[in-house]
């Protein structure tokens, strides 16, 4: 389990232990990874982050087109494993969670402990830094590599 922001680790560790999920990914709505559990490779992680945020964005747009409130939770159920995707608001902005779980747990259990995770993250989040640093194109690769090092320890 790795996190860019260390205060995320406690709530995430509890969530993973209680809900028995296989993979968990927390990211911003732009697909920037905040924390992960269970991913072995950077490529898998980045692809999952991009696809997960894409699904949330497209389902939100679909709801908007239909004049419905945005879907908070999207689940894809499979035979051997299922995906749970949800967005939530934190003091650090809107985040998206992608959770992969198998037959060892249930959607209801994931949902109950996910609600608890959100509450704990909101409570643990430090206030937003006073000045947001602009990310320049020149810094992008360095920042990406630094994030990958933090998430995979290499």
């Amino acid at each position: 389990m790795r996190a860019i922001e260390p205060w995320v680790l406690g709530p995430l560790r509890t969530f993973v232990a209680e809900s028995s999920t296989r993979l968990t990914l927390l990211m911003t709505t732009s697909g920037q990874v905040v924390a992960q559990h269970g991913f072995a490779g950077a490529l898998d992680l980045m692809a999952a982050a991009a696809l997960g945020t894409g699904i949330v964005a497209s389902s939100s747009e679909l709801a908007s087109q239909m004049s419905w409130p945005a879907f908070r939770i999207v689940t894809h159920q499979g035979d051997r494993q299922s995906h749970f995707l949800s967005w939530f608001d934190t003091p650090r902005g809107r985040w998206v969670a992608l959770v992969v779980y198998g037959s060892e747990t249930k959607l209801g259990v994931v949902q109950v402990f996910f609600d608890q995770l959100v509450e704990e993250l909101v409570a643990a989040a430090p206030a937003e830094p006073a000045q947001k640093r602009e990310v320049l194109a020149a810094d992008f690769e360095r920042e990406l590599n630094s994030s990958l090092r933090a998430l995979f320890g290499r």
Partner: protein
């Protein structure tokens, strides 16, 4: 509560000592319909009941006992009662202490047979 299971749940919650009753999808652990007193976290009860029912079925299967017909989880101040029903549904009741458990059990088993 206005769904198709409403009359059944109302009948069950009229029994003495029942704090709430719900119909749960056993595969997902989600609430199908509920009639529960305030203060009970319905989503958590449904998820845990489905989990317990799933584990019990697995255990009973491994022990060659067949599928569980009734699950009774007794705690100090009350019990969680689960009656597996047809079509992947569970009938769940949360009861207090000192209640007519035998009567509630019979009633739940009878209702579970008709829960389709």
């Amino acid at each position: 509560m206005t769904g198709r299971f409403a009359p059944l749940l109302e009948t069950l919650t009229r029994l003495r000592g029942i704090r709430g009753a719900l119909v749960v999808d056993v595969a997902d652990g989600l609430v199908v319909e509920e009639s529960v007193m305030g203060g009970l976290k319905v989503t958590a009860v449904a998820a845990m009941a489905a989990n317990i029912a799933g584990r019990s079925a697995e255990l009973a299967g491994r022990a060659d006992f067949g599928q569980p017909r009734f699950i009774h989880l007794q705690a100090l101040d009350g019990s969680l009662l689960v009656a597996p029903a047809a079509r992947d549904l569970l009938l769940v009741a949360i009861v207090g202490r000192d209640v007519p458990l035998g009567l509630i059990r019979l009633e739940m088993l009878r209702m579970a047979e008709h829960l389709v």
